[in-house]
Amino acid sequence: MENHDHISNQFDNDLESIRNHVLSMGGLVETNVKNAITSLLERDQALAEEVATADFKVNQMEIEIDEECTQIIARRQPAAGDLRLVLTAIKMITDLERIGDEAEKIGRYAQTLASKKAKTGMHLELQTLGEKVSSMLNKTLDAFARMDASQAMEVVGLDIRIDEEFDRISRLLVSHMMEEPKNIKSMLRVSWCARSLERIGDHAQNICEYVIYSVHGEDVRHTDIDKVKKEYLSKQE
């Protein structure tokens, strides 16, 4: 689609400002998630503490962007693609804020796990899951930055791999708990971290669905993404 500037420059600036702020919020959340995973795997107590207290910045940004979106709706009454972008931003920051909350939780558990004398080594099982989630989040923010619906569709598909890995870890933890009941407490903490990582994947999937909506104007939530993908491929041909 041809993309012209608005007749009103200020409108362009306002929309661009929302986009940029969402991107910075995404960047901040991404860093928090990465630090949370690192602190967990490397038993880095200082980093874990930093993550557990860094979430207030994310919350602050959510409130600021929300206000920006409210203002642009009240003053400009955006339509079509502009409206979809603003709606996407409003929904996306809710998911980003929740990803921030999950990172904060991982940071808290990581603090406890790092201090435990009983080293179960089970936290290392989270490495693959952590990598998959980090990569999915990175690709999600990239798809938003470039408004790339094809990439967003690809990323939505990644959530299944994350769920599989989460199930594998859960099974593993259950069998270890049965073998060594004295470590149940710390295994539960590992399990909660796995749950938080899995939830981050779900939020990333939501964001990708908003990106597809923003680009194509079609709501793909709760639909079969493979079917949607096929439809768009056939349209492009």
């Binding site: 689609m1 608005h6 007749i7 502009d82």
Partner: protein, 276 residues
């Protein structure tokens, strides 16, 4: 001819996009309508458009896009403009409005019109409304005429405000009231369609809201076609929206669809306030 200057545009709009109406729901149908002024200036190019029964269709587009010209085709107002030629088929309830059987005066009663500036006759409020029914011989006696005046003013939401001053001049009313008087005048001759050419552009927001509310009530009885420069107004009140650009109908679809996800980039650029 202008057409040669706009080859690119014609390629871009080779076919109007949007979803069509079911045939049973069509009140007015336009097929390949072209309108020329002075033989060498073309104002409307191959417009195919269906207007639904009991619906409000909003026609939007930049100045000079031909929306008012097309509106005036629907009740043959363009007949009154010298050198204006309307080509193509326009049907009202399946009947060609240019057929010899059709009397333009009767057609204009059937397809009423409300203009940008309220234009009551320099007569009393009563006579403004009674003028049409009298002219068309719709009543047998004065009591019937009284009934039509009351009914029309009630439908136009003006009865309560005017019932005690029916003999005062219509021009003494406020702008919004005058516009509602013009709507009452159009309704009095029992039309099927009401055409409105920017009916609220001279009114304040409160009078505008009253007229918009009135339009929503009237659509259960009439088909309404409105030309408006206010996109918010089109979004608020219309069921379908048609976007025109340099005399071409670019896109027509459900209003909700046009304002969230238009198909054509020209429509998108216009409704989002971008330079096309």
């Amino acid at each position: 001819m202008e057409i040669s200057d706009n080859m690119d545009l014609d390629q871009e709009i080779s076919k109007t996009v949007g979803s069509p109406l079911l045939e049973s729901k069509v009140r007015i149908a336009c097929r390949d309508v072209n309108v020329f002024y002075n033989k060498n200036v073309q104002a409307i190019f191959n417009v195919n458009l269906d207007i639904g029964k009991n619906q409000i269709l909003a026609m939007i587009g930049p100045s000079g896009c031909g929306k008012s010209t097309l509106l005036r085709c629907f009740n043959r107002m363009n007949d009154t403009i010298e050198d204006c030629v309307v080509d193509g088929l326009i049907e009202l309830d399946g009947e060609n409005i240019h057929s010899k059987k059709i009397d333009p005066v009767v057609l204009r009663a059937n397809v009423g019109m409300v203009f940008q500036k309220p234009n009551p006759f320099p007569k009393s409020i009563y006579d403004n409304v009674a003028y049409g029914p009298k002219l068309h011989g719709l009543t047998q006696n004065n009591s019937e005429l009284d009934d039509i005046v009351e009914e029309s003013l009630t439908k136009a939401g003006l009865w309560k405000e005017t019932k005690d001053r029916l003999n005062k001049p219509g021009t003494g009313l406020s702008g919004g009231q005058q516009q509602r008087l013009c709507i009452a005048r159009a309704i009095a001759v029992k039309p099927e369609v009401i055409l409105m050419d920017e009916p609220t552009s001279a009114l304040d927001p409160i009078a505008t809201a009253t007229i918009e509310e009135l339009m929503s009530e009237l659509k259960s009885t009439y088909t309404i076609v409105i030309v408006t420069h206010s996109m918010q107004q089109a979004a608020r009140i219309s069921d379908r929206t048609a976007y025109f650009h340099l005399g071409r109908l670019v896109e027509v679809d459900e209003t909700g669809h046009i304002f969230t996800n238009p198909i054509h980039s020209l429509t998108e650029n216009y409704i989002t306030g971008r330079f096309g």
